[in-house]
Amino acid sequence: MKRLSRPGEGEVLLLTANRLLDGRIVWLGEGERWRESIAEAKRFSYEEAGPALERALAAAAQKEVVAIYEVVAHDTQPPEPVTAREVIRAHGPSVHPDFSYDDALARTPAQEKERAQ
Amino acid sequence: MKLFNLSGRKTLEEASPVAFADWKDAPHGTAISLPQDVEVEDLRSHLNELTLIVLEFPIFRDGRAFTQARSLREYEGYKGEIRASGHLLPDQAIHLKRCGFDSVALPEEANTQDWDEQLSRYQFYYQNTAVSPV
């Protein structure tokens, strides 16, 4: 198994993946359930993240999500990823503020599409 | 092991192939198993003694054995059985058949329905191959 990224001072690890059915970015939340918003992501220390990732990978064999890995984030409210890539995954493409995930929690896919038009 | 017949020719289930590594220093027997990095030209002087050549797929997406099989048929004129063995998926049935494979060795529990379905899927193909003209 690959080595995990090590969070620095004031940082935590989150677990992320894409949902198998629609590809949507998800974050592992409380109760080991995959959530659509980074605000609902559970925070892990370096020591906790390894076993949690193992459990998630085993569960993923049951088809719900793909491409699971860990993300280093600042331990803020909500947690904010450290790298540019993960900021874009957490908040949406920077060239389309209209596709932002930040207030997307309450919207259905049909509403998403409506907004895009 | 369960043999699935791709070409419709009689297959030689009972033959037990010798690994190429053991065979190359002292060629013997009528059946051998070939890894993907062997050039089939190396078998040339013994081809008419062989009745089964197994081509190995360590992983399904390594496609070298397709070229090995086609070379055996087209360049070497090999008429015996060619069998695929290893990590193979039913989605590759047509590729195997059209490159000159006769059979594929599957695990006992394999579902051959997907293989059958795939073999009869397309009514025509866009390209000639030396072993299966359009």
Binding site: L21, F99 | T67, K97, R121, Y122
Partner: protein
Amino acid sequence: MTQSNSHSVGHYQYEERDRAFLQERINEFEGQVRRRLAGELSEEEFKPFRLMNGVYLQLHAYMLRVAIPYGVLDSRQLHKLADVAAKYDRNYGHFTTRQNIQFNWIALQDMPAILRELAEVDMHAIQTSGNCIRNVTSDEFAGAAKDELMDPRIYAEIVRQWSTLHPEFTFLPRKFKIAISGSPEDRVAARFHDIGLLARPSEHGPLFRLFVGGGLGRTPVVGQELFDSVREEDLIATLEAVLRVYNAFGRRDNLYKARIKILVQTIGLEAFRKAVEEELSRMDCAAYRLTPEHVAQIRARFAVPDLQAPADAASLFEQHKQADPAFARWVASNTHPHHHDSYICAVISLKTPGAIPGDVTAEQMHGLADLSARYAFGEVRVTHLQNLVFGHVRKDQLYDVWQGLQKLDLAAPNVGLISDIVSCPGLDYCNLANARSLPLAQKLGARFGDAALQAEIGALSIHMSGCINACGHHHVGNIGLLGVDKRGAETYQILLGGDGGENAAIGGILGPSFAEDEAVEAVARIVEFYLAQRQKGESFAAMLKRCGLKAFKEVAYETV
């Protein structure tokens, strides 16, 4: 050949068996999706199959890449792409440097339904990804350009059909890209493909110059000439021979060394040629012979446009230009000479300054399809520089076309100019990217958006990639930009001196990378330096050669 009808000019017209083939292919993929969802296929096993049907898992969602063989679409196909964008995506699509279109927000479970909708208009996503022979690209002015020697599209279609579900070459070491041109001016970047073909006529029939082992990506290499004159009847046999050598000997232990260019570099061109000739000498050539009958059969499925024009078409065109300087400016940059005196090729810029390069909304697609049906024989081509082309426009009708494009906000007069920026989707969408490319392309486009300024600068290309996989072809821009990750932050390298055409050249890296806004300023200083120091009529490439990279480097890093 048949006369034109609005659905068949410019590309192969499907027969019933082609349509049946597509349906079977979709059934096959539907079964693969079902097996994946049922857990019968692991993600590792499913991945090559979804890729070979154009389905990627990108940063935010699945992406579907639809094939546009040799870049030619008809109006009903463009209407359908617009419908797919509206119904299954977020109302837009992105045209790529390989003449395809990508949808960025597709759900896996919708894929079979989308593929069925595309098949209604004879479109598919077969082999737009994966380690197989990819969609064949060609010249955007094929069959129309004044300088063309022969129309390459018939051969592009022959190669497309030959490569479709090829039993031996579907699990190659890595992807394999073929481009084909029939013009002395290389508009397909033939020397930057795994195989590049330049077709020309001769008294013994068509001949093909074949380049092998070119490519960009992590290790940019200019392709080398393998054969000077491949005869038509040997075309397929020769491709088979090259692919066999590659399939048998290409590296499979290292993803970054698996392209054919590395094989050719490692064993050398002579040894590679010898291996190919050895294959050809042993091959059952009758099985692979491209017969004149087969070529004629394919040719018969292409309709030619019935080019008729009133006698005053050209003089009306001159009057329109005189009366409207904005139109004249657009004509100066956005057209290309047609072999028929009363016709012209129109290039539709998808680089409106400040917009996202290559993105087109569903409404724009519908509008373009309508315009093409009315004025361009219902045909639209996609260029490898992410623009669109109407191949055959009557000169006296070009003014109407231009006005129609203005209404669609697609009349930017910048083709070949500095704001005609080629860019990959970058980190905003792509799973592989290290940095965003679209915001930088937007900023540069806006910075140089003024039409008069662009006209003054003249021909100058900017190419932008978000990582070293080089989908934005940054190595072949006069100015190339490459996104680089520096400890999780995005920075940009600048390259100068690339050229994708006849004088193929790979740009040289200027120096350490810049932050995004610094990169915009550095490019601006480079351009100002060029404006101030160039001699009369001197191109950017020529001045770079005269002054050297070092002089440009000093300017670029002046205030950093």
